[in-house]
């Protein structure tokens, strides 16, 4: 306990010192607004989380270069390692809020962690911006303290299923990891296929981090299947796709899925050739719609992403689309604070009410992904989608699709604070 107390003191001292410096330079004044990041330094989403952290830092830096938020400086507070473990992430959320005094928290990319944390966010009356995309996060597993500025699985499916059925096939086999994020896809996609008169041949569930995919691949009935939907976390995708390739599956049927399971992987290898992905932003700069190219250039520069969607040293693939969720969460915080005249966490109800109105967010530096619609009922924002295909090792946009609006499952605005 002594140490936690000491670090608490250190933190406060740091805040005061920083406040003094910032105050002196005259950019922004008042107590800093602390934005916490529920950061998975290890585990399945660590490669994503690292870039989210970088995107948050870049977004905060940009704000502080201007006038901060409502004249107050903004600071990033990282959690200890959340380990891509729901139980750990949840505890780390508690520590961010109660020990590190975070005012707002941007969440893990891991849907399981988001769902475990959501009730605690409400309990601690702290606004939480989860970065996982599993549909229930902004459905029955979420609550009024949850906001998401990046799509859910259901929005991506809603936006793309029609195109997939028309262009890839009517008879689908779905192969999905048993992770929340993948199960959510299997559920939403199969429902849509059936609704549109297509046929779901089979849904094959594969244990997370399975040592081999052989038995699952064997279950795919290739004579009946016209198209394959795959849903895995990147640590599994990186093994699933080569296995499917070796089985000859990727050449016999089109493979379709969300970019989120591939987004830190280099697709310039034979197993990915020809595969289709639903994305919410093109990976490569030359594929960006013309009205967004200017914003795109400055977004890439600030976060440190090259024109091919890699890190500046070319060594890592950056989950460029995913990061908008974190970048735009910072923008939502700014919007909410300014519109509600938020001073401290006791103003959170006002903050929430200020954000939960149906609102079009224009494409600008704060929302560089493009124009989007923030819906009041489920606190979720809707934006464009793209179908990208791997051609000669590069992701090319085949078509741009609308935002995939669906009936809200909940109405948080009626929920008590």
């Amino acid at each position: 306990m002594k140490i936690s107390r000491r670090s608490f003191l250190k933190l406060s001292a740091g805040t005061v010192a920083l406040g003094a410096v910032v105050g002196y330079t005259g950019h922004a004044q008042g107590r800093a607004i602390l934005i916490g990041h529920q950061l998975d330094q290890t585990g399945a989403v660590a490669a994503f989380a690292k870039w989210h952290n970088q995107a948050i830092a870049a977004a905060i830096k940009r704000l502080n270069e201007q006038k901060g938020i409502a004249g107050r400086p903004v600071e990033l507070v990282n959690s200890d390692d959340s380990q891509t473990q729901p139980a750990v992430g949840k505890d780390q959320f508690g520590k961010l809020v109660n020990q590190k005094n975070a005012d707002f928290v941007i969440g893990s990319v891991f849907s399981g962690t988001n769902i475990a944390t959501a009730p605690l966010a409400k309990e601690l009356k702290t606004v939480y911006f989860p970065q996982g995309i599993s549909t229930p996060i902004t459905g029955d597993q979420g609550n009024r303290y949850i906001f998401k500025s990046y799509h859910s699985v259901r929005a991506a499916v809603e936006a793309s299923y029609r195109w997939a059925l028309d262009n890839l096939g009517k008879r689908w086999t779905i192969v999905a990891s048993d992770l929340e994020f993948a199960q959510s896809q299997a559920q939403d996609f199969s429902a849509k296929v059936r609704e549109a008169g297509g046929i779901v041949i089979d849904i094959i569930t594969v244990p997370f981090r399975t040592p081999d995919f052989l038995s699952s691949l064997n279950k795919i009935n290739l004579s009946k299947t016209e198209a394959l939907y795959q849903a895995f976390n990147a640590v599994d995708t990186v093994r699933f796709m080569p296995a499917a390739f070796e089985f000859g599956i990727t050449r016999r049927v089109p493979v379709f899925g969300l970019i989120e399971g591939v987004d830190v992987l280099d697709v310039n290898t034979p197993p990915y050739e020809g595969a289709y992905f639903v994305t919410s932003y093109p990976r490569r700069a030359d594929q960006i719609p013309s009205e967004l190219t200017k914003l795109d250039a400055s977004y890439r520069e600030r976060v440190g992403i090259g024109t091919e969607g890699k890190s500046l040293d070319g060594k890592e693939v950056v989950p460029i689309a995913d990061l908008f969720g974190s970048w735009q969460a910072v923008s939502l915080i700014k919007l909410g604070v300014e519109q509600s005249n938020w001073q401290s966490k006791k103003d959170n109800p006002a903050f929430i009410q200020a954000l939960e109105v149906n609102r079009i967010l224009k494409a600008e530096e704060s929302f560089p992904q493009g124009e989007q619609f923030l819906r009041a009922q489920d606190h979720l924002s809707f934006h464009s989608h793209y179908i990208e295909r791997v051609e000669n090792g590069k992701l090319n946009v085949k078509v741009r699709l609308p935002e995939g609006l669906y009936t809200p499952q909940v109405d948080y605005t009626k929920e008590a604070f």
């Binding site: 200890d80 520590k95 109660n98 399981g112 475990a116 244990p207 997370f208």
Partner: protein, 317 residues
């Protein structure tokens, strides 16, 4: 004389814990709550390992069952807090009865291996029963409040959770304190020292081991249920073999075969981990590995044993 000193320190520790909510922030209170819960789990393990000499690598099974039992009792059956506690403990008890019947007959290395296998099997079972367990993703639930008369204490309040854990863990501690002083507890220790010798002076060793196994499993299940109620979230990670390993590490560190050892070990190692997580992330496993090696070499009876010897030496000079 020695006993009264023990009682005094016990009373002092309880008093210090009782006033803690006035000193710490919410996070620190929650942190201490989890130390209390895990310390109870370590205590239950020590009854088996430290007192009876049975090194189980499958203790997480009972913790996990207790936690899930309580969680599902609330989520699916909408039972009250106290019933959930009983359900968690009851399920762990049943599992310990069934598994104990087989494993206590297996001697030395065989016992270690077969208990490790049980932990593996239960982890895989829990993983594959996703509909019920929700796998690694786990599930959250709302612990029903403590209600009697005019009181209505909600578990969303960290102070309520803390006192709930403090009272329950204290009672369980006292129960174990009493147990190890009964003839049964004495018999456990004879088995630890030499099971053949215990057998030839008339102790039914296999039956006694079975009892130790079942009691330890039930207490672990109890700890698991308290964990679930205070944490309000469970996932299959609770069944993982590393949770069994934690019990061994905390107990060895603090001092096996004592009641204070596992508590001190759990508390200190939680604290070290917490502290290191901010300074040196990868440090914890390294440091703990090193400390355990040193302890086994120089103080196999853990910190408590080390302290006793240091005090003893000072008194004798």
């Amino acid at each position: 004389m020695k006993d009264s000193l023990q009682r005094l320190s016990f009373a002092f520790a309880i008093a210090a814990l009782t006033i803690f909510p006035w000193l710490g922030n919410s996070y620190q209170i929650s942190f201490l709550t989890s130390i209390l819960v895990w310390a109870l789990y370590a205590l239950s393990f020590d009854l088996l390992f430290g007192y009876t000499g049975l090194l189980s690598l499958g203790h997480s099974v009972y913790f996990g069952l207790g936690a899930y039992g309580a969680a599902l009792a609330i989520k699916q059956l909408h039972l009250s807090l106290w019933l959930a506690l009983l359900v968690g403990m009851g399920i762990a008890l049943l599992a310990a009865l069934a598994i104990g019947l087989f494993v206590v007959r297996v001697k030395s290395h065989g016992f270690i291996i077969i208990t490790a296998v049980t932990s593996l099997v239960f982890y895989l079972l829990a993983q594959s029963g996703r509909e019920l367990t929700h796998g690694n993703d786990g599930f959250s639930f709302t612990t029903p409040p403590i209600v009697f008369g005019l009181v209505d204490w909600s578990f969303s309040n960290p102070i309520v959770r803390f006192y709930f854990a403090l009272i329950i863990v204290t009672l369980a501690f006292l129960a174990l304190w009493w147990l190890v002083r009964t003839p049964l507890g004495q018999a456990f220790r004879l088995i630890r020292e030499n099971e053949v010798r215990a057998e030839i002076i008339g102790y039914p060793v296999t039956q006694l081991k079975f009892m130790a196994f079942v009691i330890a499993g039930t207490f672990a299940g109890f700890a698991g249920a308290v964990y679930a109620l205070t944490n309000r979230f469970v996932s299959t990670e609770l069944f993982h073999w590393t949770i069994s390993a934690d019990a061994i590490i905390w107990t060895l560190f603090g001092g096996a075969g004592t009641l204070i050892g596992p508590v001190v070990g759990t508390g200190l190692l939680f604290w070290v981990k917490e502290w290191l997580s901010e300074v040196w992330k990868t440090g914890y496993p390294l440091l703990v590995g090193l400390v355990i090696l040193l302890l086994i070499r120089f103080a196999p009876d853990g910190l408590v044993g080390l302290a006793r010897r240091l005090i003893g030496r000072r008194n004798s000079t």
